[in-house]
Structure formats: structure tokens, C-alpha cells
């Protein structure tokens, strides 16, 4: 290919050096620098680019409409902001000083999402420079707030709805199933995230002078949380599974056929054993079954040593992953009803909804999906597999609904990429594989288009 691998890496390293941490106000200018870096790359690729301002960080927007009014439009979505790097002391090399070790590029954002955004940008540049045009119109939307739940993205899309209407949405922000085994996503779990706030007595009390006589907020919280699962690891909230359907036999068979090695998964997770709902394999639990997880606990005294406090307050962060037709608002109602059933006298519990999104299932048909499958085959030399993902990407369902488009999730990271953890990495070889895949994607779309056109009259 025309681009030199060494230059490719060097250029990505520039992007990775910008600490565009959207969650940190003190990094606002760095976030903007990263947006401007994307603008530069879009222009270098041959797109018309501009910053779209929001109430928060800007969106870096690009468009190439040379395929004409009658051609389909593809919207490429990614993000240029990154997670905070803490705990920094656990990084082998500093998070914003990209380093190549054993074929891996280590840096905050290497996989999530700068490395993959970079592949999209370079593929556009390569395609336009090699072929002079693309078979589809392309819109490029690089979010600066994905890591803080994209609070300004949907309003911006609604405000620019005509300009952003598209037929397909292409997102590279996930991982392949295994090294050498490219994948297309067929599902994402939804999410419902809550904070439980328990208030007992008016203020913290001395546990000697009052212990055994008044309600302890921490114990009450523990009591409530302990009712959320049954002995089989199922969520014990009445009605929780009403909207959950087992997956069809064909998909379950596909899932069973995947080369999943439990020992490797355990190693990657740092787990000494697996756990979960009985009756389902580990992958089935991850992709096709809902969960309830405690994400945080805080109450009373948590410093060094012994302090004999009887806590007046206790807090838990609690989230559910959702599947099938589960709806986050309805899960909230079920949780509230469950919590009030198990709230003992003398305490009050608030259930505050912090985030929510619906589960997503891919449409596995149509020209974009076929082109993606064909492209991965070409880029990696093997037949891609269809895989689910236990995580939630709220924007996928939102973009499909808002734009009336079909989403294609084609990720190039590898399992264990430490996306939100220290020592995040991306395989260097996938820069080229990814660009080759996308070039094939555009070629395949072009072939489809030419087949679909009526033959030239001769």
C-alpha cells in the first residue's frame, strides 16, 4: 500500500500524545487540540471538515458528497476523547507517551478509540488518493464526549438532521473475537444504572452508645443488596425476566461454535474462577443474559484503622445489563418496587437513575453488512464471525433510530486491550489490516453499486 507503516505509526503517536480527557475540565484545551488534529486528518484525506460546536466539547465533522445525490450515504462514527488514565502508577510507560512493545502500541486511547478512528481516517485518505472517489457519500462524525456519555451529541444530530441523514453507520470501537479472527457485532446489551441512597439516623452515631438499638444504614443497604440475586445467580427482582427471551437455536449454535477458551478468558480477566447464572455458557451469560452488578459501595468510616461509627448513610452504585426487550425505565420501576419491599422500618431509600439505554440487535442483512463481511474476509484472510458484546454503546441504537440508518460494528482491537484500564494497547499490525479491510469495504460497495446499475447502453 502507499502509506509507509513507519509513517503510519508516527502519525498515530502524534494523535495519542494529546491528553484529550473529556472528563477533566483542566484538559478542555487538549480535547480541542485533538478535535483540531482530526479536522487536519479529515482535510488531508480529502473531506470538507469543520468543528461543530456544542455546549461541551466540539464534534469534528467531515463530509465527502462526491458520490452524488442518488448514492447511499455512510456515516462513520468514532470519538477522539479518552478515559482518564488513573491509576497512572500502574502504566509501564506513561499513558500519553505512546510506546511500541512486542507489536503492541501502548497508550491511553490506542484502542478506545483513537487507533481505530485513525484507521478510518487513513482508509478514506488512501481510497480517495488511490481511486479518486468513493462509491458512497461519506459523513464523518468524531465525538469529543463519548467517554462522558455524549451529553451533547443527540441534540447536535437533531439540529443537523438533514445534513446527517445516512443509510449506514460504521463504527470501529470494539474488539475482534480473537487474534486473527475478525468479527462483526450482532448485539449489545442495554444498561440501567442507579444509585441507591439509604438514610437512617440523622447523623453518624457512636456505635457503642447506640449500636444494637437504632437502624444501621450500612446494614440496611447490605440487606437490600443481598436480595437481588437468588442461589442460581439469577436476578431475584419480580418481573425482571418477563421481557427476556432466550436466543434462537441458530444463534446459540453459532455462539457455541466460537473458539472460546475459558482459561484464556479467566486469565485476561484476572479471575481464578468464573461465576454467574446457571444454565448458560460463559459467552451466553455475557452476550445474551441480563445481569445485576454492584459497581460501588460507600458508607461510614473507610480510612485507616478503627472508628466506631454507626453510619447514618450508605450508598451503592448498582447497574443492570439488559437484553431482548428489557427497557431501562421499566427496570427502574421494578427495582424501586423491589427495594421498597425490602426496606426495613426506620430507613429511607432513594433509587436515583443515573444512566440507561436499550439493548441493541444488529440487522444482519443488506449491502453494507454484506460489504463489511466481505471486507473483513479480505483484510484478515479468514471468514469473520458474528459475535455479541456484553457492553452497552447507547449511541448505536440512538444513531440507528435518529438517522434511520443501519449500524455496522466492525472493531479492530483485540480482547484484553485494557480499554478503560492501565496499559491500554492496540496491535500495530491491525493498522494495516484495518486500512486494507476498509479499502475492501469501499471496493465491495463499489462492485455492488456497479452491479445494481443498469448495464451501459452500448
Amino acid at each position: 500500500m502507499a502509506i509507509d507503516p513507519h509513517d503510519l505509526r508516527g502519525e498515530l503517536f502524534e494523535f495519542l500524545r494529546i491528553p484529550s480527557i473529556s472528563a477533566r475540565p483542566e484538559h478542555a484545551l487538549d480535547v480541542r487540540d485533538a478535535a483540531l488534529w482530526v479536522i487536519g486528518a479529515l482535510e488531508a484525506a480529502g473531506l470538507k471538515a469543520e468543528l461543530l460546536e456544542t455546549e461541551g466539547h466540539p464534534v469534528a465533522f467531515g463530509e465527502w458528497l462526491g458520490a452524488g445525490d442518488h448514492a447511499p450515504t455512510l456515516l462513520i462514527y468514532g470519538h477522539y476523547d479518552v478515559q482518564p488514565p488513573e491509576p497512572v502508577e500502574l502504566w509501564t510507560t506513561p499513558p500519553f507517551e505512546p510506546a511500541l512493545r512486542d507489536g503492541r502500541i501502548y497508550a491511553r486511547g490506542a484502542a478506545d478509540n483513537k487507533g481505530q478512528l485513525f484507521i478510518q481516517l487513513k482508509a478514506l485518505q488512501e481510497a480517495l488518493s488511490r481511486y479518486g472517489s468513493l462509491p458512497v457519500n461519506v459523513l464523518f462524525l468524531a465525538d469529543g464526549e463519548e467517554e462522558i456519555a455524549s451529553p451533547n451529541l443527540l441534540p447536535l444530530i437533531r439540529a443537523h438532521k438533514d445534513r446527517l441523514s445516512a443509510d449506514g453507520v460504521l463504527i470501529s470501537d470494539s474488539a475482534m473475537f480473537a487474534p486473527g479472527l475478525p468479527s462483526l457485532l450482532f448485539s449489545l446489551r442495554g444498561m440501567a444504572y442507579f444509585e441507591l441512597r439509604v438514610r437512617g439516623v440523622r447523623g453518624d452515631l457512636h456505635s457503642g452508645s447506640y449500636g444494637g438499638a437504632v437502624p444501621n444504614a450500612a446494614s440496611c443497604l447490605v440487606g437490600i443488596l443481598s436480595t437481588l440475586h437468588d442461589q442460581d445467580g439469577r436476578v431475584a427482582i419480580e418481573g425482571f425476566y418477563d421481557a427476556v427471551a432466550d436466543w434462537d437455536a441458530e444463534t446459540r449454535a453459532q455462539i457455541r461454535a466460537l473458539p472460546f477458551v475459558e482459561q484464556e478468558f479467566m486469565h485476561e480477566a484476572g479471575a481464578t474462577c468464573l461465576y454467574g447464572e446457571s444454565g448458560y455458557s460463559t459467552i451466553e451469560r455475557l452476550w445474551t443474559r441480563p445481569t445485576c452488578e454492584v459497581n460501588g459501595l460507600l458508607s461510614g468510616y473507610t480510612g485507616e484503622g478503627a472508628k466506631t461509627v454507626l453510619p447514618a448513610d450508605a450508598m451503592a452504585k448498582l447497574s443492570f445489563r439488559l437484553v431482548s426487550d428489557q427497557d431501562p425505565a421499566h427496570v427502574g420501576d421494578l427495582l424501586r418496587s423491589h427495594v421498597s419491599q425490602y426496606t426495613p422500618p426506620g430507613v429511607e431509600v432513594d433509587v436515583v437513575e443515573l444512566a440507561g439505554c436499550r439493548p441493541w440487535r444488529a440487522n444482519l442483512e443488506g449491502p453494507f453488512f454484506e460489504a463489511a463481511r466481505e471486507a473483513l474476509r479480505a483484510g484478515f484472510g479468514v471468514e469473520p464471525v458474528l459475535t455479541g458484546d456484553g457492553a452497552s454503546i447507547p449511541i448505536v441504537a440512538d444513531l440507528e433510530e435518529l438517522l434511520g440508518a443501519q449500524a455496522i460494528l466492525m472493531g479492530f482491537a483485540l480482547p484484553g486491550a485494557n480499554m478503560h484500564a492501565p496499559n491500554e494497547w492496540f496491535p500495530e499490525a491491525h493498522l494495516e489490516n484495518g486500512i486494507e479491510t476498509l479499502l475492501s469495504f469501499y471496493r465491495e460497495l463499489s462492485r455492488q453499486r456497479s452491479e445494481a446499475l443498469p448495464p451501459l447502453r452500448g
Copy 2:
């Protein structure tokens, strides 16, 4: 009496102004200033005084041995250090600017323990100036580290064991049962304080990518903690009650006869209802029954908003109040065994002992106890009641054992004194009542001594 109440208050205010916060290294010189203030007061009272240095803050020591070798020795124990005042913004007047409002002296240390230590000092001064001598030898031991668990006190006592041997130990560091109702303590609960540290996976994971497939340390902690009580509020650890005996019928009858108003207790605790082991009254639960309380919880994400972390670690502070013959080390063994029984596969739990002390029961007989009872009757004009206390004062049992002495706990604070909270207070009138009580105490000991002596040969 000879001391002017106005002077008395002014002198105490001097003492209260010294921010002798033993927990804060930056206040080390203030702590020393408070020790020197006590030395001055001991000398003014007519005792020989000196600072006894330790590896931490010094002990202010005084002695008056004028009663002679054959007279009993009374050791007065108290402390001149105070709790940190935080949260300072909740104080009506600043913690180290003593203020008189509605007959209450407000200041950090007013009740715990400077105000009560001051009463002991002034009573000695008054007795020696009025009578020229005391019926017993007196040792005075003012601790500078009581609020940080007196790490250097027992070594110091062991090092000076001969000099500190005593027959009685008098401590004024507690509260009366109610306004106008003086009390002598007949019991303290013991304590066993632990930290539970649960470790699951190697590091925090993404709750979407791993949720439902690997153990969640926070959920495992919740699971373990939820097994600690049964439906009746009893501690559900096997063997926990083996060393617990119900109190005798007479003491239970005395407890039932106390003018305890549940509504007032609830109001003071800021509780909307009471809670605890069934089958016992609130006071019985507080004084005569053991408890298990969660003092703190920490796991995963506890900041603002939603973070989808699957916690690798979870921590609980957990303490037991002990009664009868319960032993903190044995309770630790029972807890470890219980925890290991409820630890699910894939997680490890450490049970770390942070503090422990045995329960204490008073010896309700003998000349010191009789003198104390008589003195309270004289000082407050009513018959004192015998009361328990749900809290733990480790030093009481330690002093009794180490010195071979009988401890008398005679407190002059009132319920709701905010000893470890903002707006700590002490009733101004109790300065005089307290000094009068102690003068009666010395007079009563003198009367006992003269009765016990053979009649003078005439």
C-alpha cells in the same frame, strides 16, 4: 465553697482554648501545652507534678502521698487530649472558643474530658486547701493519647508499676443517666473491630464486558455481610452467644426501673424507629447484649454519576460489642470461620483485627464504691442509680488488672453531650456539683478510715 463559680469557669475556659488534638501531628505542641496546663493545676492543688514522657504525647502525672504508707491509694485517671473538631462548620461557636449558652459550656473537650478532669483537679485543690490533707494517697494520671487509643499508656504504667500501684481508680469520663440523676457505672461492653478485605479479580473490570461471568467483590462482600444477622436481629455467627449470659433478675429489674423514655432516646439519636435483637428492651440491648455493626463500606466507584466498573476489591469495617465473658480474640476466630464458610469460589477474604478489648463489670462493693455512692447523693441531693454503658473504655479493665485496683466510673456529663461530635457541651452547674461530690467522696473516705481505725487510747 471557697472557689468563685465565675473564676472556675474562666479557668476551665483557658484549658478548653488549647486545641490539644492528639490525632493531628500539627497540634503536637498544643497537646504539650495542655499537658503543662495540667501540671500547673496539679501543682496549684498541692500535688507534686511532673511530665512523664512517652514515645508519643506525655502523661501529666501528679502525686500526694501525705496519707502515709498504710493508707489506701486512689489513682485518678483522665485525659487532656481531645477529638478533632471536624466538621467545624456545624459548630454554633468555634470549638476552641468556649462559650456559655443556656447554662451549657460549649467547646471541644468540655465533656470529654477536660471539663471532668478539671473537676477532679479543683476538688483536690479545694480539699487540700480546706482540710490540709486527704484521707488517701492520690496519684493523678492525665493521658494525652486517650482519643488515639492510648498506645503508650500501658507500657508507661508497666514501666512505673511500683510507683503507680493503687487500690482504687477513679474515672470521670462518662455521663449521668439523666439530668438530676447521678449514676455509677456497673458495666461497659467490650469490642472486637475488624476489617474485611475481599479480593476478586486482579483489577477492576468493565461491568459490561465481564459482568455476569466473573465474581464481583462488592457482591461477595454483601453476601458475606448479609449472613451476619438472623431475622430476629441476633448475630448469626455460630458460637457467638456461647459466652453470653443473661443478666441476673435483680439487675434487669433495676434497669427496667430506670426512667428511660424511648421517645427522648430516639430524638437524641435522630432515629425514626428503634431496632435490634428481639426479646430485650432498648436499654438491655445497649448495655447487656452484644452487637455486630457495619462501621464502613468501600468498593468500586463512589464518585459522581455512573461508572460501569466491576470491582476487584471491597472492604468493610465491622465491629462487635461484647458482653459477659466474650473475648475479642475468640470472636475473631468465630468470625474468620464464619466468613470462610460464606466465601464464594473465586474470591479471597482477609479478616484483619484492628482493635479489641474485653467487656467490664464493676465490683459494686467496698469502701471506694460506698464512698462514691454516698458522695453522689450529697453532691446532687438524690440517690444515684447504677447504669451500664454500651460503649467500650479499654483502659478500665486494663487499669484494674495492671494495678490490681477497683475502678469507679463516676461521670458528670449529661446525655447528648456530643462527645465526639460538633457542639460538645458540659453543664456549667455540674462544675460545682462535681466538686461538691468529690469533696464528699474524700470526707466519706475519711469517715470510713476513722471508723476503721482503733479508738485512740485515752
